[in-house]
């Protein structure tokens, strides 16, 4: 009997709920970093162009208002469903994390399990952020005054190069939970765990355009995000020189920027799923209404 050869998969982009190739036609190999000889291509992934990024921003913008207007309860159920689906592909995720060559099987397992549990945690935040961070303001006048927490809008996320699953989810999910739409750039060395998340998104009923995932070259995409006037916020775990380019983009349209240390350990710290996770991706809206007969 002849040995069955493997099907080497080409992972595509995830834009507006569809899985297109890059309009540029470019693909890049994803390497098995556990392979000491260094060269073995595990798979291929599309390499997004600036045009793909602009398309993703358009899809994200089109989806955002409706997503933000949906109830926190609904968003929570959808993110919970995502956790269920990720749990179903747990072994595949562990293998993909292990292929990054950074951790052995048992640490890869821990990373995946903590990541899925953190997904649950963010599911729970959807209908609680207002209660914890917002609330009634006791003003000195005849007014009912309260502050509610709203989504900033369209958010670009640059996930860390390490921690390819938990880093990606820890930075992308808070934005989605609070009603933003996201264009997420996974680890460029090990994008597969994030691409598995993308494949789960439609089945979890995340509406098209709410999560977009673009694999590609960071040095190409960072300046495009920084200059894009329809990106409202950026969450990024990138090296200082790229962080600076993103910060300079603030001058463009006052986009909000949250920078996360690229050396950060994304495991076991409550702060990752605390209200501080929602910096840059939420706005406080204070509403006053007169009170009187």
């Amino acid at each position: 009997m002849t040995e069955r050869s493997e099907i080497t998969k080409t992972w595509k982009l995830f834009i507006g709920g569809a899985f297109p190739r890059s309009e540029s036609g470019r693909v890049a190999p994803v390497k098995d970093l556990t392979d000491r000889s260094g060269g073995k291509a595990l798979a291929y992934a599309a390499q997004a162009s600036r045009k793909d990024l602009r398309d993703a921003v358009e899809a994200a913008r089109a989806a955002q208002e409706k997503w933000a207007a949906s109830s926190g309860y609904l968003r929570g159920q959808i993110i919970y469903r995502l956790a269920e689906l990720l749990d179903g592909r747990r072994e595949e995720l562990i293998e993909a994390v292990r292929m990054s060559g950074r951790v052995g099987k048992s640490k890869a397992r821990t990373e995946v399990e903590v990541a899925i549990d953190r997904t649950l945690s963010f599911a729970g935040w959807c209908d609680k952020l207002d209660s914890v961070v917002g609330g009634r303001n006791a003003v000195a006048g005849p007014f009912h005054c309260f502050s509610q927490i709203e989504a900033t809008g369209v958010v670009a996320v640059f996930a860390p190069e390490e921690f390819p699953l938990i880093g990606f989810l820890t930075l992308a999910l808070p934005a989605i939970a609070c009603g933003c739409s996201v264009i997420a750039m996974p680890s460029s060395v090990e994008p597969i765990p994030a691409l598995i998340v993308a494949e789960c998104a439609p089945s979890a009923d995340i509406p098209p355009g709410v999560l977009n995932v673009l694999t590609g070259l960071r040095e190409e995409l960072v300046p495009v995000v920084a200059a894009h006037r329809d990106v409202d916020a950026v969450v990024a775990s990138v090296e200082p020189e790229m962080a600076k380019i993103l910060q300079l983009g603030v001058a463009e349209n006052l986009k909000r920027v949250r920078l996360v240390d690229p050396q950060a350990k994304f495991l076991e710290d409550l702060a990752w799923s605390s209200p501080s996770a929602f910096q840059a991706v939420t706005e406080v809206k204070t509403v006053w209404h007169t009170v009187g007969l």
Binding site: A69, V133, N137, A138, V139, A140, G141, F143, C145, S147, T152, D232, P240, A243, K244, Q247, L248, V250, A251, N253, L254, R256, D269, L270, A271, S274, P275, E283, V284, K285, T286, V287, W288, H289, T290
Partner: protein, 483 residues
């Protein structure tokens, strides 16, 4: 219908002006007033008379550095002062502001040009309230801004704060109070045309024995501000001012570890639905655009009126505008005072000319006699305004209102959001459910339903989009000063 006469003559009712002003002020650094190293000073004038009030120091790079060094040195002890002891200093500041309220209000009006009614009833009480409110936060930070190990949050460090000329003392309080409550130290730069009340606040800080260096107040113009922003030992920049300057600051700060909050410009919509209480709405329009001569970042400078009541609202507005008293800001009957500076007056006038040139129809109070000296702009509004007109898009920062109409709530929201700004909005309707739904759909940080221009230290204030980021006031404002 005959138009009622609005030519009521009031007897002058000037506020007493016995406020001692020195001929020259130094920089307040490390607890003492000192001559600037720069050797330079700037004249500060009363915009209602153009007469000189005093000369203020102009800090250069060396002066800025001294202030930052003093703040850094003071931080070491200040951050370790027990929370309730920190609170006591702040309560005392609030008390002294209340006790010296009349003096501060008169000085504010002389330096800024705003009506004494506003400085007396709004600016100064709000400044005191900000210190009083934030004093109470000092020992509650661990619950307001929790950390993952349950301890109280650490301060950010040395905060460089730059404030505008439209609410000089109030802005100083908005900036300093939360910073101190969280254990930070401060270098504050007031605007060069309105530094006198901040310097008076420095005297109060001396009176209450605030430890030297905890708050430093350095005067100067744009160059002084740039030196402060670029200083390598400042941990946080908080700025209130124009969007253009905010962009420049963001570029300067990029690539550094400095934290940044920006409270910038606006072109805020004020929406009047047909089911609103129209007379109250007209009063709301008055306070939204003509209070403080319209020199308010959150001014309701775009009036959106439902078509079916547009004629009625415009007629009532015209009538109401005629009863506004423009003139001596120190007169207790004055509604509209002087524009803060010649430069600002020129800017407002150029917008008014553009409004006419682009085809909008100007309505103003033609028969008002203005003082011969000083910077004056009669309140006015424009009808026949198209959304593309400059006066409907750009922040004027003056008593100039652009009136437009709409037919449906959806159209009102679309027009309201048709701006790159997002600071505030007004909504006038007698239906609560409608007010809250429109409030939800508008992209702005502060929404006033059946009221306008209300502020309170407990209520977070700040913008969406190009109106900046970060909030001031309330719990949200505190988090901007905790590491």
């Amino acid at each position: 219908m005959t138009t009622p006469s609005t030519n009521w003559d009031y007897a002058p009712a000037p506020e007493s002006t016995k406020v001692e002003i020195k001929t020259q002020y130094g920089l307040f650094i490390d607890g003492a007033f000192r001559e600037p190293r720069s050797g330079r000073s700037i004249e500060t004038i009363n915009p209602a008379t153009e007469s000189s009030l005093s000369r203020i120091a102009e800090a250069d790079a060396a002066d800025v550095n001294l202030a930052v060094v003093a703040a850094r040195k003071a931080l070491k002890n200040w951050r370790r002062v027990p929370a309730l002891e920190r609170a006591k200093y702040m309560y005392r500041i609030a008390r002294r502001i209340q006790e010296r309220a009349r003096e501060l209000a008169v000085l504010e009006t002389m330096d800024n040009g705003k009506p004494i009614r506003e400085s007396r009833d709004e600016d100064v009480p709000q400044a005191a309230a900000h210190f009083f409110h934030h004093a109470g936060w000092c020992d509650k930070l661990r619950w307001a801004c929790p950390t993952s190990n349950g301890s109280a949050p650490e301060p950010i460090g040395v905060c460089g704060q730059i404030i505008p000329w439209n609410f000089p003392l109030m802005m100083a309080a908005w900036k300093i109070a939360p910073a101190l409550a969280c254990g930070n130290t401060v270098v504050l730069k007031p605007a060069e045309t309105t530094s006198l009340t901040a310097l008076r606040l420095a005297e109060i800080l001396q009176e209450i024995d605030l430890p030297p260096g905890v708050v430093n107040i350095i005067t100067g113009a744009g160059e002084t501000g740039r030196e402060l922003i670029a200083h390598g030992d400042v941990d946080k920049i908080a700025f209130t001012g124009s969007t253009d300057v905010g962009r420049a600051i963001a570029s300067t700060v990029a690539g550094t570890k400095k934290r940044l909050t920006l409270e910038l410009g606006g072109k805020s919509p004020n929406i009047i639905f047909a089911d609103a209480a129209i007379d109250q709405a007209v009063e709301g329009i008055v306070s939204s655009i003509w209070a403080n001569q319209g020199q308010v970042c959150c001014a309701g400078s775009r009036l959106l009126v439902e078509e079916s009541v547009a004629e009625e609202v415009i007629e009532k507005l015209r009538l109401r505008m005629r009863s506004l008293r423009v003139g001596d800001p120190l007169d207790k009957n004055t509604d509209v005072g002087a524009i803060n500076s010649r430069a600002q007056l020129d800017r407002i006038e150029s917008f008014i000319k553009l409004g006419v040139a682009e085809g909008a129809q100007r309505h103003d109070v033609s028969d008002v006699a203005l003082p011969s000296k000083g910077f004056w702009c009669k309140p006015c509004f424009f009808t026949e305004v198209q959304p593309a007109h400059t006066i409907a898009r750009e922040e004027i920062f003056g008593p100039v209102l652009a009136v437009m109409t709409f037919r449906t709530p959806d159209e009102a929201v679309a027009r309201a959001n048709n701006t790159m700004y997002g600071l505030s909005a007004g909504i006038w309707t007698s239906r609560g459910s409608k007010a809250y739904e429109v409030a939800r759909q508008i992209k702005a940080g502060v929404i006033w339903c059946n009221t306008f221009n209300q502020f309170d230290p407990a209520a977070p204030f700040g913008g969406y989009r190009e109106s900046g980021f970060g909030r001031e006031g309330g719990r949200s404002g505190l988090s901007a000063y905790c590491a």
